[in-house]
């Protein structure tokens, strides 16, 4: 009951946030010169003023901005994100097609970064000032400082071109038409490099946060209490320190969920991953404003949802947080 009320409350609060993002995006995008009509007309090679005007009329681009916005908003309330003239297809369909690959990539990268990062941080903290700690700190510093796109390109050169272990790009092997476990294996092989390229930065951040957090928790009184009870060091780590130390990492992860979407645009483009990222990149290049707005709207909703999930996770982890 309390959970339901809390969720209702949070979703109510999310509405103005998403609406604000939509309004901001709409007007920001229209500040930029040029529109879909000029790009389409330019590409067709027959950019007569009459043709341009015809296109604009067809797309409703001749209407005042305010009217265009109202039309957009009304469509949106009917879950209609508009039409991508460039792709000749409804925006909603385009995005839904790409949601799964992007979701897969982001969840894999996010999960890997979270699990590996906290594990490395835990090892570094429990073996403080040992060679393990130094190696982990050095590696995370390098990972932190390496741009994802560069790492992606280097991995393609080494693992795909020279060693031939992994495919260079794409979501699955074109024309292979695999099914069942073969298909899973095929997609997984394509997923490895983009997921690593996307996750490494976050992995480094979580490892560092986790290390500091564990070191802080180890000095707390309740750890001494557990020792004074006669508890073993391993159980003190797993039973007491771990969960307390995870709290700052979870907070951090929630804040960064939005960045992850931005990061996926770069990585998807490098690896030709057919996700929202490449879709956004192409939409931007061809001034497909409706598609761009749709993508922004969906990613805003995703960020809001992820933040809500993180907050729920946090309340589950920490009883001091009340719904």
């Amino acid at each position: 009951m309390r959970l339901a009320r809390y969720l209702g409350h949070r979703i109510l609060l999310a509405i103005p946030v998403v609406l604000g993002i939509v309004v901001l995006n709409f007007f920001l995008i229209h500040l930029a010169p040029g529109d879909a009509a000029s790009v389409l007309a330019g590409e067709s090679g027959a950019a007569s003023p009459e043709y341009l005007e015809q296109l604009r009329q067809k797309f409703g681009l001749d209407q005042p901005l305010g009217t265009q916005f109202l039309v957009y908003l009304t469509n949106m309330l009917h879950l209609n994100l508009g039409y991508s003239f460039r792709n000749d297809s409804p925006v909603t369909d385009l995005i839904l097609d790409r949601l799964w690959p992007t979701g897969l990539l982001m969840l894999t990268a996010f999960g890997a970064a979270l699990v590996a990062g906290t594990l490395l941080g835990l090892i570094a903290a429990t073996r403080r000032n040992s060679w393990r700690d130094s190696v982990i700190s050095l590696v995370s510093l390098v990972a932190y400082a390496t741009p994802g796109f560069w790492l992606g390109l280097m991995m393609i050169v080494v693992f795909a071109i020279h060693l031939g272990w992994l495919p260079t790009s794409g979501f699955d092997t074109v024309g292979a038409d695999t099914e069942g476990w073969d298909q899973v294996w095929d997609v997984a092989r394509h997923l490895v490099m983009p997921a690593i390229a996307l996750s490494l930065f976050y992995l480094a951040v979580y490892a560092r946060v986790m290390r500091a957090s564990v070191l802080e928790q180890v000095g707390m009184d309740y750890v001494t209490t557990a020792r004074a009870k006669g508890q073993t060091e391993i159980r003190i780590m797993t039973g007491h320190v771990l969960r307390n130390a995870l709290l700052p990492v979870v907070t951090m992860a929630g804040v960064q969920a939005g960045n992850l979407i931005g990061g996926s645009i770069v990585v998807e483009t490098v690896f030709g991953w057919p996700g929202i990222g490449t879709l956004a990149f192409n939409a931007l290049q061809s001034r497909d404003l409706n598609l761009l707005l749709g993508i922004f709207f969906v990613s805003a909703c995703l960020v809001v949802l992820v933040n809500l999930a993180v907050d729920l996770l946090y309340t589950a982890l920490d009883p001091r947080m009340e719904l």
């Binding site: 009184d221 001494t224 020792r227 009870k229 006669g230 007491h240 307390n244 982890l317 009883p319 001091r320």
Partner: protein, 546 residues
Amino acid sequence: MTTTVLDIEKLSIGLPPGADRAQAVTDVDLALRAGAVTCLIGESGSGKSMVARAILGLLPKPHVRIAGGRLLFEGQDLAAIDERGMRAIRGARIAMIFQEPMTALNPLHTIGRQLDEILRIHTTTGRAARRDRILALLDSVHLPDPARLARAFPHQLSGGQRQRAMIAMALALKPRLLIADEPTTALDVTTQAQILHLIRDLQREHGTSVLFITHDFGVVADIADSVAVLQKGRLVEQGGVADVLGRPQHPYTRSLIAAVPKLAPPPVRPASTAPLVVEGRKIEKAYGARGLFGGRAIRALAQVDVELRRGETLGVVGESGSGKSTLARAVTRLMPVDGGEILLSGHNVADLSRAQMRPHRKRVQMVFQDPYASLDPRQRVIDIIAEGPIIHGTTPAVAQEEARVLLGLVGLDPSAARRFPHEFSGGQRQRIGIARALALRPDILVADEPVSALDVSVQAQILALLADIKARLQLSMLFVTHDLRVALQVCDRIAVMRQGAVVEVGPTAEIYASPKHPYTAALFAAVPGADWQERASRPIHERTHA
């Protein structure tokens, strides 16, 4: 009856290079008798907590270690037992409770689970039997509704309840020795009295030997059978409680005891007729209840009236959460109030904006509780003191010159001027804090628990300094404290606060002699060792424990 549970022989604990001394404690000899409470008393840094940790093998590894001596516990030398052997002893045969029960409990586990942990470690009892045992333990420390409390998290309990839960945990397996490291220091005085009672009762019931670490002679008087006094790592005196408190031999013990303010009424002074410098009328302040959807508001000040006359010290006493610090901050207008009037020499400042308040600021200055947190660590002492006058238009050269004079006034060497706060002790820092407050030549000094963080000997010096300065500069002082001994010593009048309201106000001697409100009487009754200074002069057989 006189068997020894723990025999500490020539214990020395080595500190890492760079510490203020080579050893935390040196050649400590102490025997803890079965069924007796031994108090180890000393000021901060005396090494008393190190002794406790050494017994349990919990010294901060690897830098601090036992450098010599033996810890004979039931014939076994604890210093020679390996980690595995120590784990079997910890919690089962030697247990410990700590100063701050909030941080000593894992915030993410329920009370029941934390109690269960100790049973799981040391016994093979089944789940149902353990659960019954947990409920019985919570009941034995007089916690209401054990079944509900077992499911509660530490933050849902009051400070006293948390400490009771800690005690239940420590006594779960009926240990032979209980180490209590300042277990009541973080608690309110009435709660402290209850916890001391509880420890005493349970200790008698189980025949447990208790090593009770404290800095408070009042607590010693209430609970100890024997006392050991630790000074900078050396045991300077030990003996029965009556001997040590009544006839202290070592000069250090004598100076410590002399520094404890007496729980006795001050001489009756004629009521002041000097003009009012602060007049608060019906001050209101609530916390919380902000944000889009509101929340539960806590009324921190409810229709509070307060009057302070020129040259007078008004004590504001009460337990934590009573609103006394809020009152101090309201009077200094360090925070906005929700209603009422605050007249500074006739001017109402309650509704002034930040900018309008600025010219009034220098008239009221504050001395804070924590001398560590209240001084900017990156500023030199001279700049800390001169900052206020410079803000109010004094030229830097003049302000710095005056700051040097103030350093002399608060008893610090002029060479202190160029140094940073971390180079000073707690007492010295509080002197700097007082100099900083005086730099603006205020009429009113608001002191919020100015001596609570200090050792008793340093506390006496700071109180003397405040009294001296107040008389010399004709200051009025609002003195917030939870310590009734201190309040009796320094205040002309006392206001007793409870749950945001002033329940009683009057001349100090009157409040002490005939408290009108039952809460005031309860507060005085709860002061530990209420009459030991007087009682200590009577023969032993006439004394009984409270």
